[in-house]
Amino acid sequence: MITQAKCKKIIDLAIAHAGDRVSDMLVTVFEQDQATSRFANNEMTQNVDTSSITVTLYVNARNRTAVTSTDNTSTRSIKRAVDKAIEMAAVLPHDATTLKVLKPSNWTEDSAPMFSRYDPRIAALGPDDRLARVKSIVEVARRGRLKAAGIFATYLNTFAVGNTAGLFRFDQQTNIECSITMLSASSSGWQKGFGCNLDTVDPVALAEGAAMRARKSRNPVYVRPGDYTVILEPSAVLDLVSFLYGDFTGTEHWYETSSFLKKIGKSVLGDNITIADDASHPLQTGFLFDDEGMNRKKVTIVKDGVLKSPVKSRRSVKYLGGSPTGHGAAPTASEGEFPMNIVIAGGDSSLEEMIASTKRGILLTRVWYVRDVDPNTKLLTGMSRDGTFLIENGKVTRGIKNMRFNQSVIDMLKNVVEIGQPVLAAGEETFPAVVPPMKIEGFRFSSRTKA
C-alpha cells in the first residue's frame, strides 16, 4: 500500500518537472490493492490478488488542458507523462472557460469523519482468511443441498490529490465485499454485503439469507404480467433509483438534459421521499473530498418530494449560481460532478410489516440489466432475478418466474406507500448507497421469462 509521503513525492515531482511551462496543474494518485476469491458450484474458481495504481496529470497550459496518466511511478515515467501532456495541450484550441486549480481554503480543510474508514483487520486478510469465509458459505450451501456462487473480496484504496496552488489531500480506506447466489435445481436466492469495516459484512448470515430465498422460491410459477404492488429490497431500490443520479447534477441542469429541469423548488417525487448526498453518513463509504480536493458537503437534493438542489461542481456553478458542493470530477468539461454518497431517508415500516399489509403483491430481491428506454419519462426496463416472490394475504406464499418490468422510476417514487429502515445497499448497476426497502403501488411488469 502506497504511503502518504510517496504520493506527495510523486505529485511534487510532476509539479516541479512541469515548472513554468504550465499555468497550473492537478495531479491525482489512485491505488487499489484488490483480492477476490471467486466461487461457483461450491468450489473456488478464481483467486486473484492484484494491485494497480494510476497517476493522472491534468495540465493547463495557457487555458489548454490535456490529461495524461501512467501506472509507472518511476521518475522517468512521471516526467514523460508531464512532457506528453504539455506537448498535447500546446496544440489544443484556447478554452476561455478553463478554471484555475483549487486553492487551499476552508473548502479543503481536513474533514476526517468521527470514525475511520480504514480497518486494519481487512488489510490483514490473506488468501487463507478468504478461503475460510468461502468454506463457511459453501458449508451453508451443502447443508441446504444448494450450490453457492459468488465472491469474497477485500480492497485497500488510496487516493491523493495535489495541485500547483499548494493543495494536498490524502486518504486511505478499506472495503469488504461479499456477494452470494444460492441455487437449487429450480430457483435461486441472492444477498450482497459491502462496507468499510470487517464487522459490517457477515458471510454466513448473507449465505443463509440467500439460501432461504433459494429454498422459498423453489418450483416457481408463472404469474400474469401487469400492474402490481411490489416490495423492493434495498438493493433493488438502489439499482433503480441510481438512474436518477445524473439528473441530480448541476451539469445536467446547465446542459438542460436533467429530467428535473426548471423544477428546483417544485414537487417532483412523493412527499415521503427525501434524498441527500452525504459522504460523512456513518453507513457510507468512500473518500470525503472530490477529485479536485474539495470537501464533499452534505446536499439535500430532494426534501419531502420537493427538488431542493443538485450537486454542483466549480464549473457548473458558473452557469447555475450558488456554491460548489464538493462533488466535482476531474477538471474536464465532460466529467462535471456526481453524487457519490446517496442517502435515502427511511420510514417506520419493517419489511415484515410491508409484507403483512399486502393483500396481493410481488417481493423483489434483485433487479438485473436495468436500462433507461424513454428518458423523457425516466422509463426503465429490467428483469427480476434471484428471489422473486408472490405475496398473498399478507404472506410470502411462493416463488414466481422472473418478469420484465417497464416502469418510470419517477412515477415509482411518487407511488411509495411504505418505507423501511435504510441500510448500506449494494447492487450491480451502481456503487453502494444508503437506501431503505420500499413498498410501491402500480409497478408495471410487461412480460415473463422461463427461468
Binding site: 468450489e43 495524461t68 456462487a149 468512500g286 476531474a330 468539461a333 438485473w368 426496463t381 410487461s446 412480460s447
Partner: protein
C-alpha cells in the same frame, strides 16, 4: 546462449532492450512459479498506450493519453487457480507477485470438486501484428481535434440541434505471452474508434449517432478506418435525423415485421447468441454476476435455435474486427467455430479448462483478459451472423409490405439466462408497401431469444455485412470490460412485438421532460470509481 557482437547492446534501441529485459522477467516468473510448486503457469506482459480526443459543444472536453504496463501471472497448484499482477517490473516485484499467485492457488486447491485440467494445446512461438494501413499515433492531435470540431460545426448547421459531440480513441497494445508448456507469443494490436452524435429537441432531447451509438465504431485497424467512416460526410445527415426524430411521433405498439439495421443486429447477436454460448456461463461460473445460460449441453446438436437461414460463427481470424487476435490468453491459436448451423445450435465459446470439462479435444481459443491486472475468462471473439441472400437493405425494405426498420442501439436489456430481451433504438422508420413512410421516436422491440431467431426470414447479402465493434463487454468479478466484434448485415424478423417501451397513457406528455443519454450516466463518475455497469454485460 547466442554470443552477442561487441556493441550490440549499446546499439539496441531502448524499446528493444526493454523488451528483452521484460521477456526475461516473464520467463523468470515461470521459473519462480515452478519452483514454488506450480504445475502450470503463464505470464502476460502487456504495455498499452491509449490516446483519446473528445469534443462536445465545440469545446475540447478531453484530450489525453494513458500508458499502462504490467505482468499478469496465472498459476495452477494442485489443480487450483491463482492470479496476481506484478506492478514493479523487477526481479523482486516478480517474486512478490508470483508468491501471491501461488498462495492464492494453494487456497483454491483446498476447495475444489476436482482438480482443474486443461485441454491440450501444442506450444506456439510466434510474432504477430494486427493489420493496419495508417498508424493513428502518427496523426497529430490537432488534426484529430480539428476533424471532430469540423464535424460539430457541420452538425450545428441545423439550428434545431442542441448538443453535439465527437470521439476519437486509439490504442496500441503489445502483449507477450509465455507459459510453462513452451509457448512464446508476441502480439501487437492497433485499435481505432470514432464516432459523432447530435441531440435535438425542445425540452426532450433525441440523439442520432454515426457510425454507431455510445462512442461509435471500433475496429482492429488504423487511421484509415476513421477516413472510411467519413465522419464529415455524415455530420449533416446525423443532425437532420436527430431533428426528424425529435419531431416524430412515438413508436406505436404493434406486432409487425422488424428489419434490424446492422449495428443493432450486432448487439442482438452479442446479447442473445454470444453470451449464452460462453461455456463458463453454461457451467455456472458466472451465476453470481453475469448469469448463466439456457443453452445447456443437452441442447447441443438438438435445439433449433433459429430458422434454417441462421448461421452464427465465432471467428477470431477476421482481419480488422475488434475481437481478432492470433492467440488467446490460454496460448491457443485463433479459430473459426460454428455456433449455430442452419438454425441448429452446434457449438460453444470455450477455454482449455471448459473444453476439457465438456470433453472436447481442443479449446476454441476464446480465453481473454482485460490487461495484465485480470485473469482471463471465456470471451466472445467475433460472433457473427453469416450474410444471406436478401440483397441490399434497399432490396429488403422493398420486399417488406408492412414493418419497421430499427437502427442504432439506444437501450438494451436481457435476463440472466438470456431468454427475455428488450432493445430500444435511436430511430425507427415505418415501412408500408416496400417504402419507408415516416420516422418514429423511442422505438423498442421485445422477444424471447429462440422465438425471435426462428422468426428470421431474410438476411441481407455480403455487400451490407459489417464487423461492428463493441468496446465495453462486461463480465467477471472483478468486472472486466473488453472489446468484441460482430459481423452483421440487416435482417428481417417476422411478427415481432414493437413499441413495448412506451410512456404509460395516463402520464402527462410534454412539459419539462428531457433526455440524457442511456447508459452514459455512469460515464460521469470519476475515472477511478467507474463501474462496469453501463456497459454491455
Amino acid at each position: 546462449m547466442a554470443i552477442l557482437a561487441p556493441g550490440f547492446l549499446a546499439n539496441l534501441r531502448e524499446s528493444a532492450w526493454s523488451h528483452i529485459m521484460n521477456k526475461q522477467l516473464a520467463l523468470y516468473a515461470l521459473d519462480v512459479a515452478r519452483s514454488l510448486g506450480a504445475s502450470y503457469a503463464d505470464a502476460r506482459l502487456i504495455k498499452t498506450v491509449t490516446e483519446t480526443v473528445e469534443t462536445g459543444n465545440l469545446f475540447v472536453v478531453y484530450a489525453g493519453e494513458s500508458e499502462n504496463i504490467g505482468l499478469g501471472i496465472r498459476v495452477m497448484v494442485r489443480g487450483g487457480w491463482g492470479f496476481a499482477t506484478a506492478r514493479h517490473l523487477t526481479a523482486q516485484g516478480v517474486v512478490f507477485a508470483v508468491t501471491k499467485a501461488v498462495e492464492a492457488a494453494k487456497a483454491s486447491s483446498r476447495i475444489l470438486n476436482g482438480r482443474v485440467k486443461l485441454a491440450p494445446e501444442k506450444p506456439h512461438q510466434a510474432v504477430w501484428q494486427s493489420p493496419f494501413n495508417i498508424d493513428p499515433f502518427k496523426i497529430s492531435t490537432d488534426d484529430k481535434v480539428n476533424l471532430l470540431l469540423e464535424c460539430e460545426k457541420l452538425m450545428r448547421k441545423n439550428k434545431l440541434v442542441k448538443q453535439t459531440s465527437g470521439l476519437l480513441t486509439f490504442t496500441r497494445e503489445k502483449k507477450l505471452f509465455v507459459n510453462t508448456e513452451g509457448s512464446d507469443i508476441l502480439q501487437t494490436f492497433i485499435t481505432s474508434g470514432c464516432g459523432i452524435d447530435a441531440q435535438a429537441g425542445s425540452h426532450e432531447h433525441f440523439i442520432r449517432s454515426w457510425p454507431n451509438s455510445f462512442g461509435g465504431q471500433y475496429e482492429s485497424a488504423g487511421w484509415e478506418m476513421v477516413k472510411r467512416w467519413d465522419l464529415l460526410g455524415n455530420s449533416e445527415r446525423v443532425a437532420d435525423e436527430a431533428v426528424a426524430v425529435s419531431k416524430a411521433r412515438q413508436c406505436p405498439e404493434m406486432v409487425t415485421d422488424v428489419i434490424l439495421g446492422a449495428s443493432q443486429l450486432a448487439l442482438q447477436i452479442h446479447e442473445s447468441t454470444g453470451h449464452p454460448t460462453e461455456l463458463d456461463r453454461v457451467f455456472g461460473e458466472e451465476e453470481n454476476y453475469a448469469g448463466a445460460s439456457f443453452l445447456t449441453p443437452d441442447n447441443l446438436g438438438k435445439l433449433q435455435y433459429g430458422s434454417k437461414i441462421v448461421n452464427l460463427t465465432a471467428d477470431a481470424t477476421v482481419p480488422h474486427a475488434l475481437g481478432t487476435f492470433a492467440y488467446d490468453d490460454d496460448g491457443v491459436s485463433a479459430q473459426r467455430v460454428e455456433l449455430v448451423k442452419n438454425g441448429l445450435f452446434v457449438g460453444y465459446l470455450t477455454s482449455r479448462e471448459t473444453a476439457h470439462e465438456l470433453g472436447l479435444p481442443r479449446s476454441g481459443g476464446m480465453m481473454r483478459a482485460t490487461g495484465p491486472g485480470f485473469t482471463p475468462l471465456v470471451r466472445m471473439t467475433n460472433v457473427s451472423l453469416e450474410p444471406g441472400d436478401a440483397g441490399s437493405l434497399a432490396d429488403l425494405i422493398a420486399d417488406t409490405k408492412k414493418g419497421i426498420l430499427l437502427d442504432s442501439n439506444y437501450s438494451w436489456s436481457i435476463d440472466d439466462r438470456r431468454h427475455n430481451f428488450q432493445f430500444g433504438t435511436e430511430i425507427g422508420w415505418l415501412i408500408k408497401n416496400g417504402k419507408i413512410v415516416e420516422p418514429v421516436r423511442n422505438p423498442s422491440y421485445w422477444g424471447i431469444t429462440t422465438n425471435f431467431w426462428n422468426s428470421c426470414d431474410a438476411i441481407c447479402g455480403p455487400s451490407e455485412h459489417v464487423f461492428w465493434g463493441i468496446p465495453t463487454c462486461a463480465k467477471g468479478q472483478p468486472c472486466q470490460a473488453i472489446g468484441t466484434g460482430h459481423g452483421a448485415a440487416p435482417a428481417r424478423f417476422k411478427n415481432t412485438k414493437v413499441g413495448v417501451a412506451k410512456p404509460a397513457e395516463d402520464k402527462p406528455k410534454g412539459g419539462a421532460h428531457s433526455k440524457s443519454r442511456s447508459g452514459h450516466h455512469h460515464a460521469k463518475l470519476p475515472r477511478h470509481n467507474r463501474h462496469c455497469a453501463g456497459g454491455s454485460k
